[in-house]
Amino acid sequence: MTHEEKLSAFEARIARGEKIEPGDWMPDEYRKQLIRMISQHGHSEIIGMLPEGKYITRAPNLRQKLVLLAKVQDEGGHGQYLYHAAETLGTTREEIVDALLTGKAKYSSVFNYPTLSWTDMGAIGWLVDGAAIMNQTMLAHCSYGPYSRAMVRICTEEGFHKKQGQEMVIRYAKGTPKQKAMMQDSINRWWWPSLMMFGPHDSVSPNSEQLIRWGIKTKTNDELRQEFVNEMVTDLHAVDLSVPDPKLHYDEQAGNWISGEIDWDEFWRVVNGDGPCNKERLAARRKAHDDGLWVREAMAAYAQKK
């Protein structure tokens, strides 16, 4: 079969709703895009453990302590499933880890913002995980088997993350004056980073069309972002919290909440490594990796001896 014939057969399989599995023929570009997307996604989960992990030791009661521990543990688990999916495409875990620690690989910028108070856990659970779930639900339909399966598993587990965040936001918004003020402050700081999670506008997203044809994406960035804004604004207003967007208004005709413009300078600065916590996040991961070297070596050495 010529390359064109193979490509046609491949695209026909995807159009039929079949999953592409490890071992099946795939265009190099498909493999490359997926390795990039999947490992980036995995890195995001791993890095995501840090801003929330900081508050496990600061949780205000026993229930919240357990819940947050479980949530952060899930994020580690999700990173694990995603690294596995990336490995099936021909890269190794060593390469994946190295790409993150040397700064070569990207991860979701939202985690380059600092967590400054306990109520940030509610904002992250509801807004950030809420945004992630929308993306993940779409990706569960992805044409590549291992990624699709990882996403289905993640979606099942992620349900509690958003709910736990939402429960916190509602409780604090209706709580003491201090709790309410803290909660509003958290929303103010996490609103725009959450919107940025959906990526650049469609008009400047180069990969979109191909990703949709290859069943890697089914909705565009702006479509998902609009869905998110509609849901979140309604629910935040229902608990008497405001959205830090002076230009926000409701378009009756379209039935949409229209946002002001995202600060794209900030977006690209943070994506390119100049956010408030970029260096700190990578430094923490590098330290864990370096401190763990003797451990990994010792366990491998013992296995050799047996």
């Binding site: 490890p22 479980a70 569960a140 598993r153 509690f160 939402q166 229902a238 366990m299």
Partner: protein, 189 residues
């Protein structure tokens, strides 16, 4: 000494008595025993599981039906003198799921390649998209006697389940209290 992320092991979970072991993903581990424990910690954070298997990834011989159609040169491979038992797994259908291949049975063979040939003859090919075989000796299994300490703790961690959080009722009550212009029932929070 080179720093590694240890070996990769494929993990198979048996969720119910009426279901076979199914491939859930993989874990990295330095050896078989740690692989079994890591599989329990990574994959059995929520119910249900009755039994776990782990197999070093390099012990698994895998072919998709597309690969089988494209090329048969893989069949020429050296044979051992004696045969041994191989486990056979299949991916059946195209339904969206969390798990990949299912355990369908065993064959006796003198090499992974011969095992796959025999499997193709022995088991139905209908609606099958992927085949895996591995030697039975490469499988590390959880003991039934350990099931309580391995799998029960996940059941008790209800806070990992979405229905532990009564958000839907809360939002209903909130919207209702606003419409009815009355204060929110404090107990709901």
């Amino acid at each position: 000494m080179t720093d590694t992320q240890w070996l990769r092991y494929e993990v198979f979970e048996k969720e119910r008595p009426d279901l076979p072991h199914r491939n859930a993903g993989s874990v990295h581990a330095p050896d078989d025993e740690m692989a079994l424990e890591n599989a329990r910690d990574v994959f059995v954070r929520r119910p249900n599981c009755l039994n776990l298997w782990v197999v070093a990834a390099n012990q698994i011989f895998s072919k998709t039906v597309e690969e089988l159609a494209a090329d048969s040169s893989w069949q020429d491979a050296p044979l051992s003198e004696t045969g041994e038992m191989y486990l056979v797994f299949q991916k059946q259908g195209q339904r969206q799921a969390e798990t990949f291949v299912n355990h369908v049975g065993e064959v006796e063979a003198r090499s992974p390649q011969e095992a796959l040939c025999k499997a193709l003859e022995t088991f139905s090919r209908e609606n099958v998209f992927v085949w895996w075989v591995c030697p039975a000796r490469a499988v590390t299994r959880s003991e039934d006697g350990d099931a309580a300490s391995l799998f029960q703790p996940a059941r008790d961690k209800e806070y990992r389940q979405p229905n532990f959080y009564r958000v839907v009722t809360l939002m209903h009550e909130l919207k209702a209290s606003q419409q009815e212009a009355r204060p929110l029932d404090e107990d709901m929070l």
